[in-house]
Symmetry: C2
């Protein structure tokens, strides 16, 4: 029997990208902001235009995506889900051409059971077809024809149009 | 009105990849094969296991995809098609992790009117949804839900299951 297809976003679903960015702001940007404040609302809204540019440069530099921590419990959960679902990873890497190899190597390092055939670097995710998509960006869920689950993130707290999952425990409860 | 989506393969549809490989065999591999012979059947079938390994190494090396010639009339045809179709490029780049940046830059150089949001690096193309797919690999057309067109190539000459297009003139006649 064919398994249902489950497509996972990489940043802020498998990888704690926001966490790395917030940590950089706290330790290097000489800010008065707290860790808590940086986890409420989009990161940009807390930053001056100058600091936004600084962060933009950092994200676009080679190497930025190499050492991002894995989201808590993501490895165990995806491994478990892979028994019942055909797992794909789809990331909007085209926005960051310096990230291609870093993002690929990161997946090989942390989710080595996902074959290269099931990795997608794209831009506009409306090109994807599958049964489930877990993503932190409402715009990606909007165009998805299957069932979309919104992974909780500081920049999507006010979104109400999609079923929300707060963490990987929520996801395994929902899908297993 | 939304334009229909036309997904194009990169190698052997936009880029004359087989042509570059055949040229390398003819000029560097000390072979008795002719240009004509190398355009009949899969390239591997003409090569010794040793030469197959040599070619495999070349394809997987950084830089291989940077200087591939554009397929005859592809630029003009895709530009014309882009007025009626939403053009995406989907290439099985995941098989060649050293090719990511080369393939991206090649598209920026030769098809700069295709936005980064419409480029997809993938493996298994059954993840794609669209109205048309033009590809030289029957396996990619087999799983496609829209209309597939097989782009003529030495390695697919015996395939009869799909509508065949011989070149970019054929494609514009068929789709415009």
């Amino acid at each position: 029997m064919t398994k249902p297809r489950l497509i996972l976003d990489q940043d802020d679903v498998l990888a704690a990208t926001h966490g790395k960015l917030a940590q950089i702001v706290l330790s290097d940007f000489g800010t008065n902001l707290t860790h808590e404040a940086l986890h409420q609302g989009p990161l940009q809204q807390h930053l001056s235009p100058e600091d936004q540019k600084r962060l933009y440069k950092l994200i676009h530099a080679p190497g930025f995506f190499t050492d991002i921590p894995v989201m808590p419990n993501a490895y165990e959960a995806v491994l478990e889900l892979s028994k019942k679902y055909d797992i794909f990873v789809a990331t909007a890497a085209m926005e960051f051409p310096n990230s291609f190899r870093d993002k690929y190597d990161w997946l090989q390092t942390h989710f080595n059971f996902i074959p290269w055939s099931n990795i997608i670097f794209c831009g506009d995710k409306s090109i994807l077809s599958g049964d489930y998509l877990i993503d932190d960006m409402p715009r990606n869920l909007k165009t998805f024809k299957g069932k979309g689950l919104l992974f909780n993130a500081p920049h999507n707290l006010e979104e109400t149009a999609y079923e929300r999952v707060r963490n990987w425990e929520d996801i395994t409860k929902r899908l297993l």
